[in-house]
Symmetry: C2
Subunit: 226 residues, 2 copies
């Protein structure tokens, strides 16, 4: 498969496309923080390219909501306030509800099996108090549902929202709230999918995200002014 990889690498050779996920990684890892200005020259120097591909990558990321373009002043990593984060959660809830509904209608046996396995593993992690294991399992669980929905656009849009949520200043609070043990909800979700009950699946998935939104709203407004 190394030949395939090499071909794929050569195929995807347009520096802008290659650079974009790298800049995304820099944002997600915290190397560049929300509100920071991005210097095109510095990035070009870092990646050993000219500014053209950098600008292309940034324009693509702007459409994805990760950065904001300010004319004649450069691109800034977007910084989300509470209201915007809540708006994202609402959209996310709508998408996730639909994902549950579609999964209930279309999930294959192996999809359901995988979901049940993940819930079981999360149960074990919760019992052991091992949140280090729980968190990635939780991510994998949500992604497995999106995959089971059979709707690629749905999955892509959802992933885009998750990325944007990383730009919320007080996201640690959200993550902390997310660790709120909600595996009972997860089990209800899988049960609805396994029962092929689209309505129940839609409701449980939707409510699952909306409860996170409630926790987000209830969290102390610990975001500093810019």
């Amino acid at each position: 498969m190394s030949a395939h990889e090499a071909i794929a690498f050569l195929k995807s050779r347009s520096l802008g496309v290659l650079i974009e996920p790298e800049i995304e990684r820099m944002i997600m890892s915290g190397e560049i923080k929300p509100g920071d200005r991005i210097n095109e020259n510095a990035l070009a120097l870092r990646f050993g390219t000219s500014r053209g591909p950098i600008r292309e990558a940034l324009r693509s990321m702007e459409a994805g909501g990760l950065v904001a373009l300010v004319p004649n002043r450069g691109v800034y990593v977007r910084s989300l306030d509470l209201a915007t984060a809540c708006a994202i959660y609402e959209v996310r809830a709508a998408l996730f509800g639909m994902a549950g509904r579609c999964a209930a209608e279309r999930a294959g046996a192996e999809d359901i099996c995988r979901l049940e396995t993940l819930v079981a593993e999360m149960d074990r992690a919760v019992d052991a108090g091992d949140f280090e294991t729980y968190y990635p399992l939780n991510l994998a669980f949500h992604q497995a549902i999106l995959a089971a929905s059979g709707n690629h656009l749905l999955a892509a849009q959802y992933a885009s929202l998750i990325k944007q949520l990383h730009l919320y200043r007080a996201r640690s609070l959200v993550q902390g709230g997310g660790l709120h043990v909600s595996n009972q909800e997860h089990r209800a979700m899988v049960d609805a999918i396994a029962a092929r009950d689209p309505e129940a699946a839609s409701r449980t998935h939707f409510d699952h995200v909306m409860r996170s939104l409630d926790r987000l709203r209830a969290a102390p407004a610990a975001h500093a002014a810019t």
Copy 2:
């Protein structure tokens, strides 16, 4: 206000940003058709710029799902097959359901008033058999609901999906199906919002789009192979 406009024009001066909606218009108007290849030189010549801003605009549009980038071969106007169009409809239904729910919770009196006015006008257009009037009213009605939802992201994502749907080859069929007089559904939607009933609003809005999806699926597969 001409001074303000001039200032706004100067402010937004980055050719890429200015060019992007222009290319969109060319696609929406059918000047460029789905599947067509876009020649950067031709566009640059047409707009009197160099290829740089053109490429930036295209990269942004690619993120919006209007065009597809094929390495070393150029950008193509995306062409949607039936399955992809259905996937878009599903996401659209999810978003629109959420929009109805939010509108039921947050719409102002003037929002509801506007919605009722639009439904009344559509009623009149239907009675008169004036579909030429009905169609833009229908668009305005949907947009008014998105505005009443108070969620800008929701409105933006919805608008993006509508644009993408224009790329479906047999979209005339969809539009024809859309002209299927559904003003009773519209009235039910507004009633649910006016009654401040989020659940009913969510359901009516969601079903409204899903019924369009059913019509789309039922339509004869009149799309030619590429």
